[in-house]
Symmetry: C2
Subunit: 258 residues, 2 copies
């Protein structure tokens, strides 16, 4: 069994960019970066000194690994057109099945980093859970040892469990972010949003240390109707925050419904 | 103008305990701790070597500051019975008005630490925003300089702004914690909850760095109906998570409603 020594990136978005960055740091050879939009491929390629291309027919077929970091719909399109039968091909999606790549190659896999990426914000890859799946034992083992170059937290997770993980990440990332937007709106312009930072950090740390089921507090849990009524009055000019407040309160105060 | 050299704690819950701890560290003299339940007063008093009492008539009337750290309803009760006319009396509530103390003393104030406290979890007071209000300039100034012994982030905030701050803290603490409960439920028992920790930490840091209005991502924002339908199917056996998923998605995908 060999080792994955060089790769090709298909896609040039946030995930591809962060993978390119860590490959440079770890001396993993990235032969090419492909995007249907040549300017995007070039932006990434020039930054990390990688050949850029937008014609899939010019794809080098001799790399050890092809990482497809594109939207789910684009994975389905590639499955219809791209053929690299002998090489390992993976996607980076939380929701697409491993089967989504089955016509591209006989050796497929998933390389799903459980993190939110923004192009110019560095992240500590060492801490990111990397969820690996492989179509066969050899492919999986090659992917796991490749993934260990990126992260100290490499997990073998099948497509079904990955879908649940992705859904829980929607709550933990998308919805928490939206709650923070509402907090900021409610706070208004009188006070800086940063005033909430120590509270939110402690909220998260406590929930992970003692379990969120043991950390719930607040007026809804205590049944403090006087405070709840005062809050609803303050929310009269903010319908979305009021809807969220009402639903959270009803769920928090009725544990029997859960 | 003097200085607040010694205090009395009225209440023996989480907030009182954390105040007692920092007073010990900073050599601030706590003369007494009062609770209607003597065992609670004693538990705190013995830990920090403070006289404990449950008869309010035995309250020492010569302290510089009386900190009332009790529930909002109990503040109202104390306002009917407690009389310390010449001394500074504050409460620690996010929602009660400063006026809630007006019959106890002519010098009143608020000492509201914006943090979630758990008895045995130490917190870094230096970072906690301390929201101060005073009934008159001298009282306010004494309270501000007292508060600076606790925290590097002392803010003068009136009762109206404090109410808004408390409401936004309900979103940032109570509701985020509840979302984390739902994430954990959705994840199920196949995977450890800790797998989400790096994602949540990055979510929070990013929202505070670039603003949550610039950090929103996810299937609802992209209008990715295929993923949303798959998620709703996965949530069929979890009605509370499904309700939250549906409401968040509708709010995230309809910014015009905001």
């Amino acid at each position: 069994m060999g080792e994955i020594a060089n790769i090709i990136l298909i896609g040039s978005g946030n995930v591809a960019t962060h993978i390119a960055r860590v490959c440079k740091e770890k001396n993993i050879n990235v032969l090419q970066v492909y995007s249907p939009h040549i300017e995007n491929a070039r932006a990434l390629g020039e930054h990390f000194n990688i050949e850029a291309l937008n014609d899939i027919n010019n794809l080098n077929k001799s790399a050890d690994l092809y990482i497809i970091a594109v939207k789910d719909d684009a994975i389905a399109e590639l499955n219809q057109t791209l053929r690299i039968p002998d090489k390992i091909v993976v996607h980076t999606s939380g929701t697409s099945d491993i089967e989504a790549l089955k016509d591209i190659s006989g050796k497929t896999g998933v390389f799903y980093p459980l993190q939110t990426f923004t192009k110019n914000r560095p992240v500590v890859w060492q801490d990111i859970p990397l969820c690996i799946e492989g179509s066969d034992t050899e492919t999986k083992e090659l992917l796991v040892s490749f993934a260990k170059k990126f992260s100290g937290s490499v997990l073998e997770i099948d497509s079904q469990r990955r879908r649940k993980l992705h859904l829980s990440a929607v709550f933990a990332n998308n919805f928490i972010n939206f709650l923070l937007r509402e907090s900021k709106d409610v706070l208004g312009s009188d006070l800086p949003f940063s005033i909430l930072y120590p509270l939110v950090m402690e909220t998260v740390k406590k929930a992970f240390e003692i379990g969120p089921e043991n950390a719930q507090t607040g007026p809804a849990l205590r049944g403090d109707q006087k405070t709840i009524e005062a809050h609803l009055k303050l929310l009269n000019d903010n319908p979305s925050a009021k809807e969220l407040y009402t639903l959270f309160n009803s769920l928090i105060s009725n544990p029997a419904d859960r």
